[in-house]
């Protein structure tokens, strides 16, 4: 795993997109998303960040929630993307492509268009 200081700060702007992409791949519950992020190498990510983000996604109606009984009492929420979430994800990748393209340009050519 690559350890990068202050990665959380950089991730703030893109974490929502990352989580939307994970949810778009199939029904998933809260902590499983955190596990997936850890497996991807984002181990420094604060646990609370994903919990707070999921509350926000639900509040902004970007996900569809299905409740299923859990082994410890309260129903477990499983998330899937709804249409609005799909649109948001699409917009996220558009923004990302733009940003990463410009960043590459900056690194390779010092910001001068080829």
């Amino acid at each position: 795993m690559v350890v990068l200081d202050n990665l959380s700060e950089m991730l703030k702007g893109v974490l929502e997109g990352i989580v939307l992409e994970i949810i778009s791949r199939g029904e998933i519950y809260g902590y499983e998303i955190t596990r997936r992020l850890h497996a991807m190498g984002f181990e420094g990510l604060a646990e609370a960040t994903v919990y707070a983000l999921l509350l926000r996604l639900e509040k902004n109606k970007l996900v569809h929630v299905t409740k299923r009984p859990s082994e410890i009492g309260p129903p477990r929420k499983f998330y899937t993307l709804n249409e609005r979430g799909m649109e948001e994800l699409e917009q996220f990748w558009t923004r990302w492509d733009f940003l990463s393209g410009r960043m590459e340009m900056l690194r390779n050519q010092g910001g001068k268009p080829s």
């Binding site: 703030k12 519950y29 902590y31 955190t34 646990e47 609370a48 919990y51 509350l55 309260p74 929420k77």
Partner: protein, 191 residues
């Protein structure tokens, strides 16, 4: 992996306390946040009053989400070799609500500063000033009313109204002095 009943009770308590902060932060609009900043005192009182209200379904959902999330996290930690107690402490620390807004951080700092500089003796002194001046005013006013009204005989034959007026006027004057003392103490504390 199942957690002990004691730990589950701790998780429930923690989730009940912490989930509302996350929910509040996620649900508040910019204007609501601004309003909160301008009405700190009212908000504090409302939060205290909210404890007496039934919890909304959304709040309970957020609490349940946190219970499950925390349990999952703790199970992962236990699988890594943590004891149940250590896992709880770590999860509690990691899931403790921290606001990342500069404005709220600033607000918290000012609250902390206020409470750190808060002197209970000053509040006690203000209370004593009010009570002292009030008693003083009532006593002097009542006595002045009694004398001006014609003394004991006049009081007993219907002149009690003068004494009553004296008591009321004295009370008002006492409160006035109490307010002036309050202002003086508040200004001294500010310096």
């Amino acid at each position: 992996m199942s957690l002990s009943r004691e730990t589950m009770d701790k998780i429930r308590k923690f989730a009940k306390e912490q989930s509302r902060y996350y929910l509040e932060d996620a649900e508040m609009t910019y204007m609501e946040k601004m309003r909160r900043k301008s009405a700190q005192t009212r908000d504090r009182i409302m939060k205290k009053l909210a404890k007496f209200k039934n919890r909304s379904e959304t709040a309970l959902e957020a609490q349940n989400d946190m219970i499950l999330y925390m349990s999952d996290y703790m199970n992962d930690l236990i699988a890594q070799g943590y004891s149940e107690q250590e896992a709880f402490e770590r999860a509690r620390q990691d899931l403790q609500f921290r606001s990342d807004s500069d404005k709220s951080a600033d607000l918290k700092e000012r609250f902390t500063e206020y409470y750190e500089n808060f002197d209970p003796a000053a509040s006690e002194a203000i209370g004593l000033f009010y009570a002292g001046f009030l008693f003083f005013g009532v006593a002097i006013g009542g006595l002045a009313g009694l004398i001006a009204g014609g003394g004991k005989d006049a009081f007993l034959s219907g002149g009690w109204i003068d004494t009553l007026v004296g008591v009321l006027v004295g009370g008002v004057i006492g409160l006035g002095f109490g307010m002036i003392s309050n202002a003086v103490v508040a200004l001294k504390n500010r310096q």
